[in-house]
Amino acid sequence: MNVVAIARLTVREAFRRKVILGVVLLSLGFIALYAIGFHLFRDNYLSLEARRSVRTGAGPAPSYAVSASAMVLLGLYTVNFLTGIMTIFAAVGTVAGEIEAGTLDAIVPKPIGRWQIITGKYLGFALMLSTYIILMVCGVAITAHLVGHYGPPHLVHGTLLVILVSMILLSLTMLGSTLFSTMTNGVIVFMLYGVAVTGGLVEQLGTALNSDTMVKIGIGSSILLPSDSMWRLASYVVQPSLAISFIGPNPLGTTVPPSALAVHYSIVYCLMLVIGSVLVFQRRDL
């Protein structure tokens, strides 16, 4: 009950501070641009294809799915990236900021557990972020279907993985917010986020160049913060295998999907960090 009250408060704050309004407007803008882009891409592709078939006399090439899949991947990557940034910005000061402002002074003495404050906040953010991800993925998928006449495979599975990415970042940001000031937490979480993204790129390069060391660096970074590896798994499942082998190692996707173990690790990672946040906050003087 108290958890729900705190979760409600968290959601209400996002609405009241007009965070939601800003995000919705920008996201609508993104979907509109994406639809225009997809439309132009398809026109371009079809005219090229028409010229090619006139020149060679061959039938339509099977490669449309590959290109359309790349377009969907771009869309989903943008959703994943935007949500990642949003997660960090939304939660960076959720505990630290309230301690700094003193607003927790009236909340903590109530007959509630401190753990309920942390889990309530987590649930509030998780609910908003998951809803956002689901709506945005629907936006991308509907655009792909209506404008591009293409439907990516395993979209539900991919969406769940993008949600997992957001939950990983949320757990990390919450833990940081119980430990550090808002600014310090922001710097630390963004640096780690950067390490994860760069680590993922290094791993892709390593795969392309057959460099074991580079692949190991990538794996190391995904143990530190598994957000990027979960995104790459998401990208893997939402592409047809033809597209994956055609595109090969690339900045947005992967040819070597992280294992089920990596998914389990990520879930445990989230749990441990949330438990860590509770323990830290439980002991902290406010």
């Binding site: 009950m1 108290n2 009241r16 002074d105 009236a106 003495p109 007959p111 003087d285």
Partner: protein
């Protein structure tokens, strides 16, 4: 300023005569190397209004924060309403207005009170009934649907007070409840405190405004360097160590040693009337001196005790340790 201040909640912990409402024993808090509260021991009975005084940095707010579960004691024990710190049953019956009274300013006044009522575990029907009452009490009914962010400082402090009373508490901690209020607002808060006291609510009042405390409190503790430096009933503290002037006819020399046993004679000015300036330990000593004069047929024209305020007592208690610290 109307509306019920406090109905006893159904789950009220019964007041037992044996146990005080607040009991601190050897409470201590050390931040890194700095001792904020050092061996604080005091107790407050049910129904008392207790003034908690001390200079800046004496450890008042830290002490309250420990009792509110915001800061953990390094050592020592404390019981509120007969239960150990952090006990949820006790917390349900405690109200608290924090010193900084910073609240979620994007909530409206009534949403804010609803949230806090919810956190106290009050059912929706009870909240709906209680919120208008406390809004009336702090005179903010007209602003119930305005965001707290648009409130003045004084209004924010008043909505904070409403928050502290939403659950009809049996014990209230008010940390500088009038710091942002103008004289009228202060008078209103004093009236609220008087009503709460009338309803048997125990009040723990931390304030810089000594005249405020003098008017509202039954008993006070002056703390300094994290310890209780003086404690007692307000009247007793005010009557302690009084300077009294006696205007008399003339003082026979043989009376002087006996007078010296009753009070400390500081000065004797001989004129048309003799003025004897003394320091008395309490009011009883003054009466004894008058008796002495009467027995020896010394005419008494006037007895003028210095009017002391809590501020004088405070300065007497705190200043010596400040001087020593310099």
């Amino acid at each position: 300023m109307s509306g019920s201040v406090s109905q006893l909640p159904a789950s009220a912990i019964s007041a037992t005569s044996s146990e005080p409402a607040i009991e601190l024993r050897g409470l201590r808090k050390v931040f890194r190397n700095q001792v904020a509260v050092d061996n604080l021991t005091l107790s407050v009975d049910y129904g008392e209004v207790f003034g908690f005084l001390g200079p800046n940095g004496a450890g008042k707010t830290t002490s309250i924060k420990m009792l509110m579960g915001l800061v953990y004691p390094t050592s020592g024990q404390a019981r509120l309403l007969g239960r150990k710190l952090g006990d949820r049953v006790a917390r349900r019956q405690i109200g608290y207005l924090p010193e900084l009274f910073r609240f979620h300013e994007w909530l409206t006044g009534s949403e804010f009170l609803d949230l806090h009522g919810r956190l106290y575990g009050m059912p929706a029907a009870e909240r709906r009934k209680r919120i208008p009452d406390v809004l009336t009490l702090v005179d903010l009914t007209a602003y119930a649907h305005k965001k707290i962010g648009t409130y003045s400082k004084g209004m924010q402090q008043r909505i904070g007070l409403a928050q502290a009373l939403i659950n009809s508490p049996r014990l209230v901690f008010l940390d500088e409840p009038t710091s942002a209020l103008d004289p009228l607002g202060r008078r209103d808060v004093r009236a609220i405190l008087a009503r709460l006291r009338g309803e048997g609510v125990t009040i723990f009042l931390n304030s810089h405004l000594l005249s405020e405390v003098e008017l509202s409190s039954d008993r006070v503790a002056i703390i300094d360097h994290g310890r209780v430096a003086a404690t007692g009933r307000v009247d007793d503290l005010l009557a302690r160590d009084l300077r009294v002037e006696f205007r008399i006819g003339s003082l026979p020399a043989e009376l002087l040693p006996e007078l010296g046993k009753l009070v400390q004679v500081e000065q004797i000015a001989v004129g048309p009337r003799t003025v004897v300036t003394t320091r008395a330990a309490g009011e009883e000593a003054i009466a004894a001196v008058v008796d002495l004069f009467a027995r020896h047929n010394v005419r008494v024209y006037g007895v003028m005790p210095e009017r002391r305020s809590l501020e004088d007592v405070f300065v007497d208690v705190v200043a010596p340790t400040r001087e020593a610290g310099r």
